[in-house]
Amino acid sequence: MARYAMTCDQKLCVTCNACVLACKNENAVPEGEARCWTVQEEKGAFPLLSIATRSERCNHCENAPCVTACPTGASHYEDGGIVVVSADKCVGCKVCIISCPYEARYLHPDGYVDKCTFCIHRVKQGLDPACVTVCPTGALTFGDLDDPSSAVHRQLQARKAHVLKPDEDTRPKMFFLD
């Protein structure tokens, strides 16, 4: 069983938002909502400055509070540990939105909660997620953590990386290469 993960190389990402826009088209994300977003984390004072640039999305947590909290199992782990919402089981109680420490979810106008799916529909066809495909800087990489030959695996071996809010104990599978 694969353990899908994504990395965002903060050295390469320029926060151009191509990922955000490619995602919106690929997944028909409604106006005003987004499944991924970018952050410029600015540190320091003039002229000693640094910016951490990255593209964030659902972390497909291995210990996902949204899944734990969902009364109907609409939020669930798919093969490969991808966290997905089955719209047809979603009752719109929004407790998953409340439980997600990353504000990765939104309420879809059609009455169900939606979020990044790691483009599972593409992954099933052996394609990269839309955001990974479009990224002009090659900052995003998607793959199987458990496969030693996968790019994500090798990157995480070779480089220092961090996840968001580790103290939440959600065990994210979205890694940011420092």
């Binding site: 955000v20 970018t38 952050v39 734990t68 109907t72 009752v91 407790v95």
Partner: protein, 421 residues
């Protein structure tokens, strides 16, 4: 013994139920006022019903809630009602379960009101859900026992059945069975209610809610509401039903409740104080922001005026002074917290959400620049104002609860003596 419908319903009253709203010349003025009041409630309830249907049709499109602040005033209202229900069940159980004689006369009314508030509460949450139908279905065919909210639903369903049974046995005067059902519903009430607390208390993502004390706090505030509501309906019942005079047989009860209410308010105040102290000193970014919002921020007014003054200071003061002599004052002292608790619930639900979980400033002086742009203000504050539909549902729900109760007490044989005498 044979159980007939007459055990429950007073047919004569059923026919004349309309007279509740019909003002007749020989009514004393305060009764006329009361009846007009009921008619107003009726209108509000109907408006609420229209709003409820709209909400069920259009979901969040007619709500003020957003993807960031996704729980609004309806959640608060739901909590308000189920807390009341729980409180009524617990306090009234003192009588027919734990055998405190003074409480026995009001058992039927208390449980009846518990059932009414619970039903109204469920209706409100149904309007808040995007697809209540699916919940009914999938909570059963694909339940997720790891979800506090699932347990809350399940346990409240059980609780509903149990208080239903309890009420039934009380009507047929089967005090043995009533006691058993009573004990069970107390347990269910405690379980369901602490689970409601857990729905908030277990969300690690929301530091303001997270914590083991929350379920206990919920029970405490339930007891406060229970006591307050019983005072209110006993007093109102006598005010309109007994020429503004409290019936002698109720005086003892009200005196006990006066002391209990003071005690419960004290406990709730105690929790609130510590929540604020830990919030300010806990040094947790998110929790601190929110606490300060209550103490000195956007929630300033509703916190200090409603939660603190109207919810604690004023009622306690009245309870310890004029309420000793005047039942009218006692009723006021019971009414204020019921008003305050609603605001308290609202603030509580909002406080957990009003600051984005995406930081705007980091502890080490970082600033975070988001795109698409951050939906809240620059400081990370997320706005929410209830829509008209939401407000109409809230008002309608409260009106409906009152009407149902008054109507039911009129046509049902809620006073044991009615049958004997």
């Amino acid at each position: 013994m044979r159980v007939t419908l007459d055990a429950f319903i007073d047919r004569a009253q059923l026919k004349s139920v309309g007279s509740l709203f019909r003002v007749s010349p020989d009514d004393p003025p305060h009764v006329r006022r009361g009846k007009r009041g009921l008619s107003v409630l009726l209108v509000l309830a109907l408006l609420g019903a229209v709003a409820a249907v709209t909400a069920l049709l259009k979901g969040h499109h007619v709500m003020g809630t957003t993807s960031e602040v996704s729980w609004g005033v309806l959640i608060a209202t739901y909590v308000y009602f189920v807390v009341s229900s729980t409180g009524l069940c617990l306090v009234s159980s003192l009588g027919h379960v734990f055998g405190f004689k003074v409480f026995e006369p009001i058992a039927r009314k208390a449980i009846l009101l518990a059932l009414v508030t619970l039903t109204v509460g469920f209706t409100v949450i149904a309007t808040e859900l995007e697809a209540p139908m699916r919940l009914a279905l999938y909570a059963v065919i694909s339940p997720n026992p790891s979800a506090p909210i699932w347990w809350m639903g399940a346990l409240y369903a059980v609780y509903m059945v149990l208080i239903g049974a309890e009420l039934f046995f009380l009507f047929i005067e089967d005090h043995g069975k009533a006691k058993v059902a009573g004990i069970l519903s107390v347990i269910a009430a405690l379980a369901a209610h602490s689970n409601l607390g857990a729905v908030f208390g277990l969300t690690h993502a929301r530091p303001f809610w997270y914590g083991p004390l929350l379920p206990v706090y919920f029970i405490a505030s339930a007891l406060m509401c229970g006591a307050a509501l019983i005072i209110l309906f006993v007093w109102l019942g006598d005010y309109f039903g007994n020429g503004k005079q409290v019936r002698p047989e109720n005086e003892g009860l009200l005196n006990v409740l006066r002391q209990l209410l003071a005690l419960f308010i004290g406990i709730v105040a105690f929790f609130t104080v510590w929540k604020m102290i830990t919030g300010v000193n806990g040094g947790h970014y998110h929790k601190y922001e929110v606490t300060m919002a209550s103490l000195a921020g956007p929630l300033f007014f509703s916190f200090w005026v409603f939660e603190v003054f109207l919810g604690v200071v004023a009622p306690l003061w009245i309870l310890l002074t004029s309420a000793r002599k005047s039942f009218g004052a006692l009723a006021l002292a019971a009414g204020l917290p019921m008003l305050a608790v609603f605001v308290m619930r609202y603030n509580f639900v909002q406080a957990g959400q009003m600051f984005s979980l995406r930081p705007v400033h980091g502890h080490l002086g970082e600033t975070f620049h988001y795109q698409p742009p951050f939906k809240g203000s620059v400081e990370g504050f997320l706005p929410y104002t209830p829509s008209l539909v939401e407000m109409a549902i809230v008002v309608g729900a409260i009106a409906a609860a009152a009407l149902l109760y008054v109507g039911a007490t009129r046509v049902l044989r809620v006073n044991p003596e009615v049958r004997h005498g």
